[in-house]
């Protein structure tokens, strides 16, 4: 179960009343020794450290020291990554290759007051599919190791080229060149890129200008790639909540809410569920219209197979019955977020029919990808931008 203290810290900026609630949550919190590891696992250690310090919450010294260390390390790592990103953007601009920042690289600069607050593991860039090879060559000219093209089978979710890597000051900087926009509505990658590029937003990375997809697209991608991330890849992570809430808090007055309600009902339903974990800001809540009745299992995220492997769960002491229950009967709250359904009747259908079928599909896919030796699978299980 996700501790309230962690959930409340999952946003870039805390208003005074949100700080008060964080203080209350801290009063009843007891797992201080485990907190830094939990925060790091959820990708919000720098945010938590910042909010605890700003709110003047008394925290055991060893916990605060560990959080401080994590914040410092992420700050240093992001400084290296963003310096590299500036080099890459400059080179791509010089080669006249249009590029959009995606995921963490975009969100760190669009919604966080300090990009160091947003932990990252790689840098995701979206390029037009026609210039993918040129973009790779540009990275190679900057010293990045470019793996050979995957020669084998057709991949199921092959939306980016094999990651390019360069070690800088001891940090392995990984660049993923996406040639197919994530979760775009247009079938053709080229036209999807053109559509995003036409509505792109300017942003500054250090001293270099860059572009990101429009806010609504960033929000949708964060939901689909993060909160509704296929169960095969990664567990529920508060970093995605922080990205979502921070974007909503910063841009609630310019977002196309009618468009989101019409075109992204799954996202809106997920926001209604998230509201019960950490309340949406007063300026955002009216647009989302969350219900007053919380679903069952708020804060209990999916902890079954294949997100967690069977052997790992058994090794952790879980009984077979518990593993089956966690896999086939997740909490209403998580199901509502994952599937984007906030009504109780829809979730009953999900729980009884759709989710078991979904699990069968993912079990098949897990076996398929394992047998096909999917070249990106290892990365997917360890990294999410």
């Amino acid at each position: 179960m996700i501790p309230e203290l962690l959930a409340l810290a999952a946003r870039a900026v805390l208003r005074p009343e949100q700080q008060d609630r964080l203080r209350l949550a801290a009063d009843s919190f007891s797992e201080w020794d485990a907190l830094p590891a939990m925060a790091e696992q959820h990708g919000i250690a720098p945010l938590l450290y910042t909010h605890l310090a700003a709110a003047g919450i008394p925290v055991p010294a060893t916990t605060m020291l560990a959080l401080k260390g994590l914040a410092l390390r992420h700050r240093s790592a992001n400084a290296i990554r963003f310096a590299e990103l500036q080099r890459i953007l400059t080179a791509l601009h010089a080669a006249q290759i249009p590029v959009l920042l995606l995921k963490g690289a975009a969100l760190a600069h669009v919604v966080y007051p300090d990009p160091a607050l947003r932990p990252m593991r790689d840098i995701d860039l979206l390029i037009h599919p026609d210039v993918a090879v040129e973009a790779q060559s540009t990275l190679a000219s900057l010293g990045y190791k470019v793996p050979p093209a995957y020669p084998g089978k057709q991949l199921i979710d092959h939306h980016h080229l094999p990651p390019c890597v360069r070690v800088v000051d001891g940090l392995s900087v990984c660049i993923e060149l996406h040639h197919r926009p994530l979760y775009a509505e247009r079938p053709s990658p080229a036209s999807a890129f053109d559509a995003l590029y036409a509505d792109a937003r300017p942003v500054t990375v250090g001293t270099v200008g860059a572009l990101t997809p429009p806010l609504e697209a960033l929000l949708w991608q964060t939901y689909r790639h993060g909160l509704a991330c296929p169960v095969l890849h990664e567990p529920f992570c508060l970093k995605d909540v922080a990205d979502t809430y921070s974007l909503l808090d910063a841009y609630h007055d310019v977002l196309d809410w009618p468009g989101l309600r019409t075109r992204r009902p799954r996202l809106m339903a997920a926001l209604r569920m998230l509201h019960h974990l950490a309340p949406l800001s007063p300026a955002v809540a009216p647009h989302v219209a969350p219900s007053s009745r919380p679903p069952h299992g708020v804060g209990v995220s999916f902890a079954g197979c294949p997100t967690l492997s069977w052997p790992a769960q058994r090794a952790a002491g879980k009984s077979v019955a518990r593993i089956l229950r966690d896999s086939l009967l997740p909490s209403d709250w998580w199901l509502g977020i994952y599937s984007g359904q906030s009504s109780r009747s829809a979730r009953l259908y999900l729980r009884g029919i759709r989710h078991p079928a979904h699990m069968l599909y993912w079990t098949w896919r897990f076996i398929y990808e394992s047998m096909a030796q999917h070249p990106y699978r290892t990365r997917h299980t360890t990294a999410k931008g």
């Binding site: 560990a66 410092l72 390390r73 240093s76 000051d169 940090l171």
Partner: protein, 95 residues
Amino acid sequence: MPSATQHASHCPRQKQDYKLEALDGELLLYHVGETRIMHFNPTAALVWQLCQGDRTVEGIARLLADAFPESRESVHEDVTAMLHRFEEAGCIEWI
């Protein structure tokens, strides 16, 4: 691999890519590509700065003893303990 107590004639040297930085009054040593983070007091930070591969354990202790004569008696033991800690953390090498 010799250690601080085993080979006093060797010189400790910082391994590449470790950084010592201050954040809100705390000194932290870390490697951006690794998860371990060490918290330093000012004396440990000083010992770390002296691990350049050009001073033995004795040399470092002598330098600190001259700088802090009031602690002269315990300096050698403290330096050895700190270097042992650095070595366990894998952030120094002996040359």
